[in-house]
Amino acid sequence: MSQTAASQPTPAQPTSPAEMLAYANSVIAIQTFSTLVGAQFTSITATEAVLHVPLRGDLRQHHGFAHGGLIATMADIGLTFMGAMALGPNVLTSEYKINFLRPGTGNELVARSSVISSSRRQAVTRCDIFAVKGGEEKLVATALGTIVKSEAEPVKGAEMLRGENP
């Protein structure tokens, strides 16, 4: 399970789209792994989110294509944040499935996520990942996931994991 939006320091409840975007990226900023790959939201609403990752050299595999793990990471982030938009900030990924459709080439990856269905405890979300080359987007992977509401407390020492001194 990946823990995404669980129990973050909560800034004032975001009201405008700009505040929502800033809030989502503030959560990304304290997720060291998401920060490591350079993930950033460029838009996020109740139903759709767009996440960007510049395709650096160190994120590619031995053929020079985007590593599958990176594409899956983007899917996980996109799926989970959409789940959080439907269920509230304290959520976890229960499972997802991904199909890789083409090699990821170009200079940037874009993940576009949406909510398909949500109930009180779980949301089903979808994410398409595109490679951007010369300004043109090509679909490289698609994922379908289940996001669940979490009752788990954040692990002890999470502050330390985030690079803060408790």
């Binding site: 083409r102 089903v124 698609t142 379908l144």
Partner: protein
């Protein structure tokens, strides 16, 4: 190569009548396009589970069949390699239908997305009950198995 809609529909109708299970389920073809198919069935009592709504396997059947048929419109004879299905809500019927769309067609595999709906009682009030993502592969008859004669 241009897409021959009439030929694709004829192929699907022929395969539908040859497939015993498809006939058993009472499957009807409601729409065919290039890489797109819609099918429907009536939710009969033997297809329900203990709560009176459609058995999950029936939703799986619709997602699987619609996905394979959508792939068949562009790739000919195919089989399903795998699919993943999210069951989203109880399906009350009386009509169940699925829409599948090929999102990537390659030489060795096709990736198909399918949505399953329940409805038929109030027009425009159909509910999404299943979301599926499938891998369909072209069926190439194994040359060895077709040449092999029974040993006895």
């Amino acid at each position: 190569m241009t897409f021959d809609l009439a030929a694709a529909r004829a192929r699907l109708e022929a395969s539908r009548s040859r497939s015993a299970f498809t006939s058993f389920m009472g499957t009807r073809l409601r729409q065919v396009g290039e890489g797109v198919v819609e099918i429907e069935i009536d939710l009969k009592a033997p297809l329900t589970q203990q709560h009176g709504t459609a058995h999950g396997a029936v939703i799986g059947y619709l997602a699987d069949t619609a996905s394979a048929w959508a792939a068949a419109t562009v790739a000919g004879d195919v089989v399903t390699a795998e699919y993943k299905l999210n069951l989203l809500a109880p399906a009350h019927g009386p009509l169940l239908w699925a829409r599948a769309e090929v999102i990537r067609s390659g030489r060795s595999q096709l990736i198909v997305r399918a949505d399953v709906f329940s409805g038929g009682s109030v027009p425009g009030q159909d509910q999404l009950v299943g979301a599926c993502l499938a891998t369909i592969v072209p069926f190439r008859r194994n040359s060895r198995s077709t040449q092999e004669k029974p040993s006895e």
